[in-house]
Symmetry: C2
Subunit: 364 residues, 2 copies
C-alpha cells in the first residue's frame, strides 16, 4: 500500500514520554501488519520555544498540512508563562487548528468499566457512560477580533476578546455532530448561552434550521451551557452527541472526561479541511494536558496517546482493523489489572509509562 | 428600629410559589421578632412581559434602587422564547445587576450533611463541601459592546459578543473575594482562561498585583477555567473562595452547586454600589432557576428562597440573629427527615412547597 505521512508532535511535559509508547506500537504495526508509514517528528510548544524561540515554526505547519495526519502530544509549560502572549506554548495547537482549518474536535467521554471506581461519581450515575462532545475549534472567542490588552488614559488597562460565529461556521460543525449521531443513538444536544449572548442565539437558530432542512431523522435538543454543566454532573447518561462552541466545549469536555475518572485514557480527534484544499486534515491528541507536575518521572499514563493513535489509524488511514487490535489490547491490559498511578485504586501498585506501553505491545 | 424597605420580585415559574413561603417567614419575624419592614412587590420577567410588555419597568428599577434590599425569585419562561432578544425575561435580572451595579455575586456550594445521599458524587469526595464562588456580574461577555447579529452580504449571519474587563472591574470583585477569604480559610483561587484570552491574562495580572499590594496574608492560586471544571469534579474540597468572571462564574457556580445534590437549597447574594450613590445595594436570590417544568404544581423546594431571605437579613439588615434562627429551623426540618421531591431519596415521601414552608415556620 502507498506510504502514509504521519507527523509526530510530542510537545511539552509528559508529551514525549507518552508519544514514545505510541511510536513503539507504530513500529510493531510496520513490522507485523504491513503498515507503510513515513514518520517525521518535530518540536512544538515550550520545546520549540527553547530551540527556535517560537512556539511553532511555519515549516512545521507546512509539514502538518502535507501529512495525512498529525499525532499530537500536548503543549503548555509553566517555564514559559512570562513570554509575550503571541509566543506562549499554547499557540502551537491553536495555530495548527486554525491553519489546517480543523474545526471539529471530537471528544469522547467514555467510561472504561474496569475503571469505574476511579470516578468521583457514584457508580450508578456513570456506569456505561459514553458520550461524545463535538467542539468547534477554529472560531468563537479563541480567535475573534478585536482582541488584546489596551492601556487606558488613567494608566489602567482593558482586556478585550471577541466571540464571533457565522452561519457557515456553525453549520459545518453541527453537520459533523448530526452525522455522528446517525452512527450512534440518533440524538444531538446543542449547547449555547443564547439567553445572554447573541452569538449563542444565532448558534441555536442555525442548528435548528439545519436540523429541519437535512437531519429531521435525528432528535435535536437545546440546552443552556450553565444548565449543561449541572446536567453533566447530575445525570451524564442523558447525553449522547453534544455540539457546542469553542469555549463552552473546552470547559464542558474537560468536565465530561473527568466524570469517567480516566482522563489519562481519553483520546480526541480534530477534523477539518484546510482552506483551498480538498484533502481532509486531522490531528489526534490525548484530552489531558502536558501535566508538568509529573513530567520526566516516567509515571504518566500513555493510554490516551495510544488510543489517539488508534483513532488516527481508523479515521485517517482507513485501518480500522489495526485500530480495533490496539483498542482490544488496551482493554485486555486494563482487565488484567495493570494501572498507572492516575487510575490506580487504593491497594494497586501502579506501573510506569514504559511498563504500561510494553504491556499493550505484548497484548497485541 | 427604623423601617427597612424590601422589594420582592418573585418572577416566573416556581418563583411566586417559593416567594410566598419566604413572605410567611417575614410576617412571623414582624409579629414575633420586632422586624420593621416595608414590603413591596412587583412583576419581572415573563410575568412583567404578560402585563406590561417589557421584562422589567424603569419604575421597578427605581424601586429596587430605593430599597435596602431586593429579594428575587427567578426569571425565565419558555412561553417568551420567541420575543426579540432585548425583551426576553432574563433582561430583568441582567438589568437589575447592571443598573444597581451589583458586581459581586456570592454563590456558596455547601453540602448539607443530611442530604449527602442526594449528591451524584461519592460521599468521600463531597462530605463537608463548603466553597464560595465570587462571580463578577456586571461585566464580561454578558455586557460588552459591540454585540448583536449582523446580516452578511450572502444572506447568512454573524453573531458577535465582546468580552471586556478593565483593571477597575477586576480589582473590585477580587477585593470582595480576598475580604471573604479573610473571614474563611484565607485562600482564594482565581479562575480565567489567560492561556487563550487576553481578558483572562489581564484578569490574572490584576488579581496578582492586588494580592501583592494589599492581601499578601491570603493564599492566592490561579487556575485555568477548563482545569477548574475538572478539579471541581475530581476533588471539590480543594477549594474555598474562588473568584472569576461573569461567564465562567455562570457555568462553574452551577456545576459547583450541583455537586452538593441540593440545588434547591442554595441561596446567593449579589452586592454592589449603584454608580453615583454610596448606599450599598444587594439582591438575594436562589441559585436555581424558574424550573418551568414543575411550576404551579406546588412541589418546588422553597428552602433556597428562605435561605436567601436569611442572607438578606444578615447582610443587608444587620439582623444576624434572625438569620441564624431561620438557618437553624431549616437544619432542624431537614434533620427531621422532611424532603421536597428534588432532595428526596428512594423511599422518602416528598412533601410539597407549602408543607415545607409551614414546617420551617413551625421550627422557628
Ligand atoms: C492548550 C489549550 C490552548 C487548549 C484549549 O483551550 O483549547 C486545551 O485546553 C484543549 O482543550 O485542547
Ligand atoms: C437567567 C440568566 C440570565 C442568569 C445568568 O446567566 O446570569 C442565570 O443563569 C444566573 O446564573 O443567575
Amino acid at each position: 500500500s502507498a506510504s502514509h505521512k504521519i507527523l509526530l508532535l510530542p510537545g511539552d511535559g509528559i508529551g514525549p514520554e507518552i508519544m514514545a509508547q505510541a511510536v513503539k506500537i507504530i513500529d510493531w504495526l510496520k513490522a507485523e501488519r504491513g503498515l507503510n508509514v513515513d514518520l517525521s517528528e518535530d518540536l512544538v510548544g515550550g520545546a520549540s520555544l527553547a530551540k527556535y524561540d517560537v512556539p511553532i515554526r511555519d515549516e512545521v505547519i507546512a509539514k502538518a498540512k502535507a501529512a495525512d495526519a498529525v499525532l499530537f502530544g500536548s503543549v503548555g509549560d509553566p517555564a514559559w508563562k512570562d513570554v509575550p502572549f503571541d509566543r506562549r506554548p499554547e499557540v502551537a495547537i491553536l495555530r495548527l487548528r486554525k491553519d489546517l482549518n480543523l474545526y471539529a474536535n471530537l471528544r469522547p467521554a467514555k467510561l472504561f468499566d474496569p475503571l469505574l471506581s476511579a470516578s468521583a461519581l457514584k457508580p450508578d450515575v456513570v456506569r456505561g457512560l459514553d458520550l461524545m462532545i463535538v467542539r468547534e475549534t477554529v472560531g468563537g472567542v479563541y480567535f475573534g477580533e478585536p482582541r488584546g490588552i489596551e492601556s487606558l488614559p488613567d494608566g489602567t488597562k482593558r482586556g478585550i476578546n471577541t466571540e464571533v460565529y457565522t452561519t457557515a461556521e456553525i453549520e459545518r460543525v453541527a453537520r459533523v455532530a448530526f452525522d455522528l449521531a446517525r452512527l450512534r443513538s440518533g440524538r444531538v444536544c446543542s449547547v449555547e448561552k443564547g439567553n445572554v449572548m447573541e452569538s449563542g442565539l444565532l448558534w441555536r437558530e442555525v442548528v435548528t434550521d439545519l436540523h429541519k432542512r437535512e437531519y429531521s431523522d435525528v432528535t435535536l435538543t437545546h440546552m443552556l451551557a450553565d444548565n449543561c454543566a449541572m446536567q453533566l454532573v447530575r445525570d451524564p447518561r442523558q447525553f449522547d452527541v453534544m455540539v457546542t462552541g469553542n469555549l463552552f466545549g473546552d470547559l464542558l469536555s474537560d468536565l465530561a472526561s473527568m466524570l469517567t475518572g480516566s482522563l489519562g485514557m481519553l483520546p480526541s480527534a480534530t477534523l477539518g479541511t484546510p482552506v483551498g484544499s480538498d484533502k481532509r486534515a486531522a490531528l489526534y491528541e490525548p484530552i489531558h494536558g502536558s501535566a508538568p507536575d509529573i513530567a520526566g518521572k516516567g509515571i504518566a499514563n500513555p493510554l490516551a496517546q495510544i488510543l489517539s493513535l488508534a483513532m488516527l489509524l481508523r479515521y485517517s488511514l482507513e485501518r480500522g482493523e489495526d485500530a480495533a487490535l490496539i483498542e482490544q489490547a488496551v482493554s485486555d491490559v486494563l482487565a488484567s489489572g495493570l494501572r498507572t498511578a492516575d487510575i490506580a485504586a487504593a491497594g494497586d501498585t501502579p506501573v510506569g509509562t514504559e511498563e504500561m506501553g510494553a504491556a499493550v505491545l505484548k497484548a497485541l
